[in-house]
Amino acid sequence: MGINWHDFFIVGNPLILGSQIAIVLTMVGIVAGITYLKKWKWLWREWLTTVDHKRIGIMYILSGVLMFFRGGVDGLLMKAQTSRPEMKFLDAQHYNEIFTTHGVIMILFAAMPLLIGLMNVVVPLQIGARDVAFPQLNALSFWLFFSGAMLFNISFVVGGSPDAGWTAYFPLAGKEFTPGIGNNYYAVALQIAGIGTLMTGINFIVTVLKMRTKGMTLMRMPMFTWTSFIASVIIVASFPIFTVALALMTFDRIFGTHFFTISGGGMDMMWANLFWLWGHPEVYIVVLPAFGMFSEVISTFSRKRLFGYNSMVFSIVGIAFLSMLVWVHHFFTMGAGPGVNSVFSITTMMIAIPTGVKMFNWLFTMRKGRIELTTAMLWALAFIPCFVIGGVTGVMLAMGAADYQYHNTLFLVAHFHYVLIPGVVFAVFAGLYYWWPKMFGHMLNEKIGKIHFWFFTIGFNLTFMPMFFLGLDGAVRRSYTYSAESGYAPLFLLSTIGAVILAIGFGALCYNIYWSARYADRNISNDPWDARTLEWATASPVQFYNFAKLPEVKSIDAFWYMKKHNEGLTLKDEEVEEIHMPSNSGLPFYMGVIFGITGFLLVFEWKLAALVATVGILAGLIIRSFDYNDGFHVHKDEIKKTEKAWRSVNKGVNNHVS
């Protein structure tokens, strides 16, 4: 079927050889470590088969951090290559592969799982629910995502990486111009992960609509829940488009159809349209939950209710609606004509209105607040000016006529990094520092956190600010080198130095996670930040059934109200009732594995073998259909014991800032 076995493992490149050795050693190390510690059973029972939304969330976050590392290394390699003119560090092909995987991994396998992970942990708690609507489907979502991520990541050692950019534009991404199998990885791995994401979207819509606790009306929901809900709606509305686009790409590449080809009547720009019909809403899928996190953090650490709650809700709904109507602004240069370009210019600029509303709401929330400069709050504070730079340059790019000048330059690259890094990465960092005690029962070290913050923000600005000017001077994106005569060298070097500082910042986060896991004080209360929403009303880390008694909500900032009115904070023995919980299941893990195998075979165009493997998928579906496991009941005694353990001791945060 056209695949030569000697292409199977990529050989001959020292960087990749090093990675291959490192991967093998790491895998051997992990397997040996788990066996030595006799943790296989624990791993299977507590994690691989779990349907607990908090654990699934933690697994998402862990994978997201790992993928962020992988994507970050890609970024550093690019920066190393462009640090000086005519560098010989990477060749053009390798550079192509690296900017492609950097983009795909950062958006789909780092930003998405980090946000979906925090959504998983926090949303059910914020609405006072015991789990999501479909716990097992939630586990399936995770394993499909993970399977897709792993499939995509092995591409650079087995068979070759995709190399047509993260947008994979045709005709370049077609078989004609990219004959290897690298782009098959793109089509298949993203498809598998995308199915998982679609299910997450459905799951969270139903969870938010149906599982809110008593008194939690829609307009009393915490802002993070609102944004997660709207992001889920956008997922359901836009991911099927991507599913179709990727399927058509697969057909073109593997089955010889003519959707996007130049020959046979295909239309290459249809790919760009379909891609961005999904791709632009995708930007808001990642940025809206991030906005929600900032809302929570800013409100908590300003000791004030969120300013303009209603306008906040209307803006996110407005942003969601407009996000579907702007896709053409990614290719004004397609030649659709001034009429079409004008329409999309205007819709694009209109997005600045609700976003501006949100900005002012955050500022007014802080006004006259008693601001506490925790690490989480620092991220929120840094987000505002940085994101405004990203937003304003976005309005510049939105002008169709002017875009002909910026198109495909580093100005655009700087713009979207200024949107996505403050808008998503800062938010995730803020969220991690903020919710870490809820997930793990200990805080992250604030002092290391501040080192992390300063290195990362300074490094970020130093990396991407020069790119605006490089872009305006005409430096194009995705070009693996430049000449000394171009005069770009000083700014490129500055950008590389920035990237190193940024990487040190990320290293500080990793060290912080390690340090805190080992040394941080476990004696923390359920509410170390004096926060406002329901997730803080229960233990840290949260017990598996979330709430012994489902809380009743009387106002926005439900937990704050409970604290001020001293209502519902205690639990009497007679209030305890048996709780029904779903059972663990190995099926989602199995489905992840079998999807991964099928995908792998399809990537290598072994069609018959892939067809055989789909029987495994069908078998999983049939097993699920006959699965009548109705979960189990938690006994009252167990609940009483668990509740006593965290309620009796009067805990305070000792020395968490060390």
Partner: protein
Amino acid sequence: MSANVNTALPLEYQTEQNRMNILGFWIFLGAEIILFGTLFAVFSVLNARYAGGPTPKDLFEIKDVMVETILLLTSSFTCGLAIYEMRRGNRNGLLLWFIITLLLGAGFVFMEVTEFIHYVHEGATMQTSAFLSSFFVLLGTHGLHVSMGIGWATMVIIQIFKRGLTPVTARKTFIIGLYWHFLDVVWIFIFTFVYLARMVA
């Protein structure tokens, strides 16, 4: 969750988990509408790009397509009868109409596969032109949905035989009903925009 059972409601709506499953499935159907909408959009972009290959007028035969349409539309009607019998608590009536529905569905799939084989023999494959690529993928996706539906419904029929009409089996049947009617609606659009519109134009 499974605790609050409301027996005043139809069987499939009685438990909270069932209500959530049904709502979830409606949302899934929303995603399916987007999916088919995208495929229709692709078809409408590519449907006149023959690349020298056969055109709709060379290929389509209205008689066969009409039979397919009648089979599928009738199956939607019998599916409605099945749910009606389920609401009356008549297990055997449900099973009878449910099985008839699937047989009609199987007839549809058989006709469609025959139609495709016929086209391929005439030299019209999905590799021939952009028009045929989009035609085969749009109809193939629909046909695959119907086939999956038949397999899925068979599983549920086995469960009804084994367990009788319970809130769970009723919910599963009801959801398949939603799915089946949805596929019927998609077919109406295919019949109109892919076949009829292309044959009169």
